[in-house]
Symmetry: C2
Subunit: 224 residues, 2 copies
DNA sequence: TAAATTAGATAGTAATACTATCATTTGATA
DNA sequence: TATCAAATGATAGTATTACTATCTAATTTA
């Protein structure tokens, strides 16, 4: 069985839908590659155009600017992750097992899953760790939020908050704890790799240690 | 008694020490103002130079580029905060009271304290919330880290980790919890103000709710 | 076959992120 | 008070970035 995953993206994220054309898909594929290699600051549409054998103007037909492209990539990632989470938690009724699986999915290294040929999910995961928060840390967050650009992130957060409440309906901060889990699943991995003294994982580079930390944090907090 | 607080900054943070000249102090003062008003991305040395009646080249004599200036401001902030924390926790022996005061100092709105004329700590605090993580979320974190540019952040983290261990010497993740507290004290406030559905604080804009959330998170985790 | 969509090629502009040079002011020192 | 060095200001210039505009060629679709 070969299935291609298609994620329906908010129209405001792009000028022209990149998933519907060859060039569009190349933009997604190679922007992920380039941002991963050079970082978001050094990434330009010109460099991207050169790599994919197109022109700057060509890229601008799909995305207003590189920041919008970053928001697109993050939105895609969160949608994909929500799908993945939903899929993996299917048929599990015990909320504590759900939460454990969830933390695993958030913090553990992703293996490119071939469900989309032009998105390397493993590399995209790395990008989201290092660049993801730049999508919303801007002067125009509120405007972007009005355009619902962060809906996938918020949906995932809601999903997690729901499971937390399943586990303990009296817990008072399900959403804040959910966003804490999401953010820390990424940031503790980043710290482990680049600023290890901000963590207790040394230079191990072992994401399972982050998983253990988060499990402890979460289950202590929501214990009935 | 009028005291001027002088924070000794790492020499690698600047080209020429901005605290020692009038122009340097103006750069600090007005860069804080401009980054606050326009966001870090829209902030340029040219605009800064115009505001303080100097020239672009003049600013470059103090800071290599705007990213270094951001690192300088964050380093200054963390040093100042560590001093503040040390000061406020002085003579307190009960580590649980220490932790509560600490969370309060991290998450609550700062009032400009006049201990430094050219730094508006209240606005700087706002900047660190929205822009602070951009200081380390780069391709060259590790190089910057080798130059010890993030030492003040790490020192504060160590301080907090120490208090956590005072409270419970057997807690396994004092550093990760410390960096989680620091990051979340800022991020939950940002979310509360701009993406409220990622929190449980609604549009209240009341930082005390963030304080309560963090206290709950921390004390549940480190309970003996 | 005509019409529309998509892409490529080229050009151009304003702003950004710097670097270099030289003259002037200021302030410390002898 | 003369002198020297440090700090600043003024000006100019470059490469790159972040776009916008226009025109043509190729491809698809009706």
């Amino acid at each position: 069985m070969e299935l291609q995953l298609q994620i329906k993206m908010n129209e405001k994220l792009f000028v022209r839908n990149p998933e519907q054309t060859e060039l569009g898909r190349k933009i997604i594929q190679f922007s992920i590659q380039l941002i991963y290699e050079n970082g978001f600051e050094a990434f330009t549409f010109k460099k991207l155009a050169e790599v994919i054998g197109s022109t700057e103007a060509g890229i601008y037909r799909y995305f207003e600017n590189k920041h919008r492209l970053l928001i697109y990539l993050t939105a895609w990632y969160w949608s994909w992750l929500e799908f993945r989470v939903t899929f993996h938690l299917n048929n599990i009724s015990d909320p504590s097992i759900k939460l454990k699986k969830l933390i695993q999915l958030l913090a553990a290294n992703v293996i490119d899953d071939d469900s989309t040929i032009y998105v390397n999910e493993s590399i995209l995961h790395q990008i989201i760790i290092a660049e993801g928060s730049k999508a919303y840390l801007t002067k125009h967050v509120s405007d972007d939020n009005k355009d619902r650009l962060f809906k996938p992130y918020k949906d995932l957060c809601s999903l997690i908050a729901g499971i937390i409440l399943e586990y303990n309906p009296h817990y008072t901060h399900p959403r804040s704890l959910a966003s804490t889990i999401i953010e820390m699943a990424h940031l503790q991995v980043f710290f482990m790799n680049h600023l290890p003294s901000l963590t207790d994982f040394g230079e191990s580079r072992d994401e399972q240690l982050v998983v253990e930390y988060l499990e402890d944090l979460v289950f202590c907090s929501i214990r009935k």
